[in-house]
């Protein structure tokens, strides 16, 4: 059983105990490549696209997807950024909420198509917060959502545009997207 510290789920803490592998690292790469092609197809190129990874799980995925997009459309100068939604969450005061990293949106989003990239789509609250946060950087002409895993259990009317894998889960389970692929497991007390 693989065990690793979930340092990036600071408010929860604990140790992630993996139960089974859902996608291998190669599967993740293939899914990212397909999603990148879908982004190009849907937007007729990536001229207006700004790729924004959500801290922290979405950032490495956005970086990899940007590499693929640059290979598909080498002529276009793709803009990328990262976003931390801690200051926009709706559970501030209910549990400790801390920013993981500094937000970096290098361009005015007015008139651009923002593709948000995250690892796991669960309740939809992170994406709700991200939509609010994006508003502060200009009025994007459209916002699209790319996630590696859609695990269900939505609490808000939010749906992804690009999905790596639809993965039915139980609420108390945990999905971990890392360097070594996607694992399903549970979070145990330290």
């Amino acid at each position: 059983m693989a065990e690793r510290e979930r340092s990036h789920t600071r408010p929860l803490g604990g140790v992630f105990v993996a139960h089974s592998q859902v996608l291998t690292a190669a599967d993740v790469t293939r899914a990212l490549t397909r999603m990148a092609h879908e982004v190009v197809e849907r937007n007729g190129g990536i001229e207006d696209v700004v790729l924004v990874g959500l801290q922290t799980g979405g950032v490495p995925l956005a970086t990899k997807m940007a590499e693929v997009l640059r290979q598909i459309e080498p002529e276009t100068d793709l803009q990328t950024g990262s976003l931390d939604v801690a200051f926009y969450r709706d559970d501030i005061g209910l549990r400790p909420v801390l920013p993981e990293a500094v937000t970096d949106i290098p361009v005015d989003l007015a008139g651009r198509v923002v593709v948000l990239v995250d690892d796991v789509l669960f309740t939809g609250r992170t994406i709700r917060a991200a939509l609010n946060a994006l508003n502060d950087f200009g009025r994007a002409s459209a916002v699209q959502l790319a996630v590696m895993v859609d695990r269900g259990h939505r609490e808000l009317p939010i749906r992804p545009d690009y999905v790596g894998k639809n993965l039915p889960t139980r609420r108390e389970e945990m999905v971990d997207v890392g360097e070594d692929g996607v694992w399903i497991g549970t979070l145990e007390d330290r």
Binding site: D84, A86, F87, Y88, I92, P99, V102, T103, D136
Partner: protein, 330 residues
Amino acid sequence: MSAPRHLLSVADLGRDGIAEVLRVAEAFAEVERRSVPKVPTLRGKVVATLFFEESTRTRLSFETAAKRLSADVLSLAVASSSVKKGESLRDTVETVEAMGIDAVIIRHSSAGAPHQVARWVERARVVNAGDGWHEHPTQALLDCFTVRQVLAERKGASPEELGIDCFEGLRVLIVGDVRHSRVARSEVLAYRALGAQVTLAAPGSLLPPSLDGWPVEVAADFDEALGDADVVSLLRLQAERGSGSYVPSLREYTAGWGLTARRVSRLREHAMVTHPGPMVRGVEIASDVADLPRTVVTQQVANGVAVRMAILFLLLGGELPGAAGVPAVA
């Protein structure tokens, strides 16, 4: 270890707590660089500033910080409040709390007043914005934040990349009216917690009566100490606390302990000068020196907002990390 509910002293934080405050402040510094520097984080929270002593920058800085977090801000102008009618501090605080205020930012001329207030409040968070000669924790935190920012800029790195280890072995020289300075006390705690060396330089009459237990050295020769320092932290001669009578004359003080153009030439090339403000040009710092690039007073003021946003956010929305082993007060 429970998280401190209040920020009364730098000692409540410890090394890890300070590191966390600086980390979160970095995220708020980004918010400040936006065209609309405001986030909805503390919407619905009420922050009150209770300043029983005059202040320009600290009060403005706290109020700006709270407003950028979308909190509502009430400021009690003591001069026009019931305090003038003889209301006690306790009654004032109870009134404020009865109104459902979430955080009280207090400055008071008596050391320990914020600690006392923290004992009285039931749910509000208390932030010490300066109590007598005792402490001014947010000033020390923003000084550390500024020092790291300058070090990072010079290295061409981001402050996060530099981490907290950049303070290890840093030589800080605190100059001037240490006796009456709450900034000096908080700075000593903060810089020492981060592993810096702290040296004091002041006329004997302006050093605290006892330095027992202070992890500092006292400079034998001011001019020599200047040549060793990485950071020179100047303090204001606090005339309102009577420090005028501790020195023969202002001119003599300047001659002996002021940072004059001649003394600046002794500084190492990279040494920076901090001052908590308000500066008295011509006394503790020569006017020309105050305008040198190495004098980072303007950055300090600018960073004050981000650091105070971090404190308010950590107390009201996140979790203020405490020093290991130091019990949270109240």
